[in-house]
């Protein structure tokens, strides 16, 4: 469960003003539900995910997490280029106190990197990096997975593999997903929310959220 308690967050824009992402928002992401958050471009979707992850701090208010929350799924920015895939995965496993051997076995099986797994990450192609990042995140047993837009990686076969692995994880874990694509929301989530104008509005079902989102984007256009 993640609770937001009077959380405000804004960031400076290139034009010199500040863009408000959250304005005194109190909300709860309850256990056992997959929440999809819709937001237009620049509504602050990625900032919200970083706030929920705890990699960024709110300007005011508190965010409490009673579950183990993942880093954004597929985020590979923490990989060190001169370390091998194995060393990078070990690092993340150690950080989260996951079983080193199991984590590494899972990632090897999942990413199919073969000999590249023991080579420096900066020799990888973008696709291999993405596979490593995705596999590492799935290898660790998080209670809540944070997803900043669903990106599909690899060929059809690998995509299917990803979807299956993800479904397996979702039997035990929840997700919080931010996206601008209403289709993804309906694929993955059972509750919807909309991030707009510094507000985070929750809807009991996806249809309601999507309806509202459509009206919202129409008025914006």
């Amino acid at each position: 469960m993640i609770t937001l308690d009077g959380v405000s967050k804004s960031y400076p824009t290139a034009q010199g003003g500040r863009r408000i992402v959250l304005d005194n928002v109190s909300a709860a992401f309850p256990d056992g539900s997959n929440v999809g958050i819709l937001g237009g471009n620049g509504a602050g979707k990625s900032t919200l995910i970083r706030l929920l992850a705890g990699s960024e701090m709110p300007d005011r208010g508190r965010i409490r997490r009673s579950s183990r929350v993942s880093f954004p799924l597929g985020y590979g920015g923490t990989f060190h280029g001169s370390l091998s895939g194995r060393e990078n995965v070990s690092f993340i496993a150690r950080i989260y106190g996951a079983n080193l051997r199991e984590t590494i076995d899972y990632v090897i099986e999942f990413t199919e990197l073969d000999i590249y797994f023991d080579m420096p990450v900066n020799t990888y192609s973008a696709g291999m990096r993405a596979r490593l990042a995705f596999g590492t995140c799935l290898a660790i047993d998080f209670d809540i997975y944070l997803i900043d837009e669903v990106t599909e990686i690899g060929d059809d076969r690998f995509r299917r593999k990803c979807a299956l692995a993800f479904r397996e994880r979702m039997r035990r874990s929840d997700i919080i997903l931010v996206t601008h694509n209403s289709r993804t929301i309906r694929q993955y989530c059972d509750r919807g929310a909309i991030l707009a104008d510094g507000e985070l509005r929750f809807y009991e079902d996806i249809a309601g959220a999507l309806d509202c989102y459509r009206r919202l984007s129409e008025t914006l256009q």
Partner: protein, 649 residues
């Protein structure tokens, strides 16, 4: 000469009529005939001849009129009937031709050609069953005739009786193996019987016999595509479009081939060329819609599919595609309505029923079912809620993070350098060697303290390096590891502390290795007071960490601080008493230098190392207080500016 127009005749004057006919006075004859209401049957032959002449003069209507008259007069006359059958066939009056042929066959049941002609005429009138019966009869009566066999086979094939068509066509191919049309027809029949390989072989044979025949090419490529020989099919199609670029079917097939091989863009380009040729083909629009859908362009896909549905309102596949699009677009109400319509229109169709079921289940699949429905909560396992972490849990996870960071730092500290950790040892060795070389020449004798230059400079360098390494490396800790802060358990404090600990530990190990090295070289270099040496180093490390913390914050706030700091460390090299003792300085200079906490660190270390060296200006408390103040300043700055520090650059 002319007929008397005013006196009606009761019978045709044969002699005068034939004379007129011989002179090709056709109009006179016709006129005469038209005025004569009831010619006798014997006139039929003459009328036939008139009819033939009329036909040859291109006056088809008049010829048919005369033909009908002749046939009505003497249907039982074989010569007349034969002529009439020929005439009617050639003038497009197939129903009457059929009657004439049937008359003739009645008289001559073994006239095979008659069956064939009758069949042709029947087929033209659309009476397929009877046409087939006559064609089969002709083919069976004259098994060696190519035309009869081919005709019968084609009729049967068109009627969807592939099984019956196959033997006739096989016979035709056997009689004329070089005939491409026969091979193509047999291929079609065999394909209908689900013998794809054989059909493909025949189609390719036909293609080889008539390489320029587009119809055969189309058939052959369809079979190639069904056999998944996409490249071969594309080869044939490319040649065919070079020959005949305006045939839309060819472009449609290219689109199918490209789409089958996964080249959706190329498939789209091909179907658009086909549509440029026939803009109103519903199936083409539907196909284009599916391709656009696959590209993810739902708006354009919807447009194309709606166009297809408008062009062909009865098309079930267009309706189904519309339904899928509504579902994907989230218009569930409309989708449900459309689903009801679909079910009413095609109550027995499984595909439609499934599509409607999908709507009802809110299941979202693409057309290919490529995506897995993930939000299936029915099998969701509940997990026990996590307990609030205790203080020990927190400490454990803090230690875990520090440990992970330290391991990572050991691997990355020296970057790509092959020497790696060797640098940590080489740096002090170079310093000591250089200083010893220079000053042993300068001083020509003993160092200020102790007996060996190496040991003296060692005692100055070790605390200096501990301080410089910790403070500098921590300074870069946050900026060079910024991405790690994206991992929520990692705080900037952890990154800073891990670096400090690693640098400190490294320098201690290096210091011990150097002592062992001295011992190995036979230089007496054991510290006199181990406790004092150790506390001195710890105090130095604390000072380095404190200054490092402050540095880290300053570095995040002002880029370029590191350059300033690097210059300051060089100055400290001279102002900290590394290669001299402050006692050698005038009092005023020594008193100013004593403000430098690093000078105290080095003297503390030396005082522990050399029992005889106990400088009166050494103030251990001063060092400790500055170290603690720096730590406090660094920690509170880090705490207060944590937001800026963890903000992604």
């Amino acid at each position: 000469m002319s007929f008397d127009h005013h006196s009606p005749q009761l019978a045709i004057d044969h002699k005068r009529f034939s004379q007129a006919l011989e002179r090709d006075a056709l109009d006179v004859c016709l006129d005469y005939l038209r005025r004569n209401q009831a010619p006798e049957p014997e006139a039929a032959k003459l009328i036939s001849r008139l009819s033939e002449k009329l036909f040859r003069n291109g006056r088809t209507d008049d010829a048919v009129e005369c033909g009908r008259l002749a046939f009505a007069l003497a249907a039982n006359d074989n010569e007349v009937a034969d002529f009439c059958a020929w005439l009617f066939s050639n003038c497009g009056c197939y129903a009457e031709a059929v009657a004439a042929y049937e008359r003739l066959i009645e008289h001559r049941p073994d006239w095979v050609e008659g069956y064939r002609h009758a069949s042709g005429a029947l087929a033209a009138t659309g009476a397929m069953d009877r046409a087939i019966a006559f064609a089969v009869k002709a083919s069976n009566l004259a098994p060696d005739n190519f035309d009869y066999a081919f005709h019968a086979g084609c009729l049967l094939l068109d009627a969807g009786k592939a099984e019956e068509a196959a033997p006739h066509l096989a016979r035709a191919v056997a009689i004329e193996p070089e005939n491409p049309r026969a091979a193509r027809a047999l291929s079609a029949a065999i394909y209908s019987l689900d013998r794809l390989d054989e059909a493909l072989r025949l189609a390719l044979q036909a293609e080889a016999l008539a390489p320029g025949d587009t119809d055969i090419t189309i058939h052959a490529t369809e079979l190639l595509l069904r056999s998944e020989r996409i490249d071969d099919a594309l080869g044939l199609l490319d040649a065919a479009t070079d020959r005949e670029p305006t045939n839309p079917t060819l472009w449609r097939l290219i689109s199918a081939a490209e789409s089958q091989s996964g080249a959706t863009e190329a498939a789209l380009a091909a179907i658009e060329r086909a549509l440029a040729l026939v803009p109103d083909n519903a199936e083409y629009h539907l196909h284009r819609g599916h391709l656009l859908y696959r590209c993810g362009d739902f708006v354009a896909a919807a447009e194309a599919i709606n166009r297809a549905a408008a062009l062909d309102p009865c098309s079930q596949s267009a309706k189904r595609a519309q339904l899928e699009l509504l579902v994907v677009g989230g218009q569930l109400t409309e989708a449900t309505a459309m689903g009801g319509e679909l079910l009413r229109a095609f109550p027995d169709d499984n595909a439609s029923a499934e599509a409607v079921l999908r709507v009802l289940n809110h299941r979202l699949d693409t057309i290919d079912g490529d995506y897995v429905v993930v939000a299936d909560r029915s099998r969701h396992l509940s997990r026990p809620p996590r307990t609030e972490p205790s203080f020990i849990d927190r400490m454990r996870s803090q230690t875990r993070v520090l440990f992970a960071l330290i391991i990572r730092e050991t691997r990355t500290r020296f970057g790509e350098s092959r020497l790696g950790y060797g640098w940590a040892l080489i740096e002090p060795v170079l310093h000591i060697a250089l200083l010893s070389a220079v000053f042993s020449l300068l001083m020509r004798g003993a160092p200020p303290i102790g007996t060996h230059f190496f040991v003296f400079y060692y005692s100055g360098l070790v605390p200096y390096l501990v301080f410089i390494h910790t403070s500098t490396s921590i300074m870069h800790g946050v900026t060079s590891n910024g991405s790690l802060l994206q991992l929520p358990p990692v705080k900037s404090f952890d990154v800073i502390l891990a670096r400090g600990l690693l640098e400190f530990a490294t320098d201690i190990v290096v210091a011990v290795i150097l002592l062992v090295g001295f011992a190995a070289m036979g230089i007496p270099a054991m510290p006199d007071n181990l406790w004092s040496v150790a506390t001195a180093l710890i105090a130095t490390g604390l000072l380095g960490c404190g200054v490092g913390f402050v540095n880290a914050v300053l570095q995040t706030l002002f880029h370029g601080w590191d350059k300033l700091w690097n210059n300051m460390t060089r100055l400290l090299y001279f102002f900290s008493g590394i290669f001299y003792v402050p006692g050698m300085m005038p009092d005023w200079a020594r008193d100013s230098l004593a403000w430098n906490p690093l000078l105290h660190a080095i003297d503390w270390f030396r005082a522990g190392f050399f029992g005889t060296y106990q400088p009166h200006w050494l103030d251990r408390r001063y060092l400790l207080v500055t170290a603690i103040l720096a730590l406090l300043a660094g920690l509170s700055l880090e705490r207060g500016l944590r937001r800026q520090l963890s903000e992604p650059a």
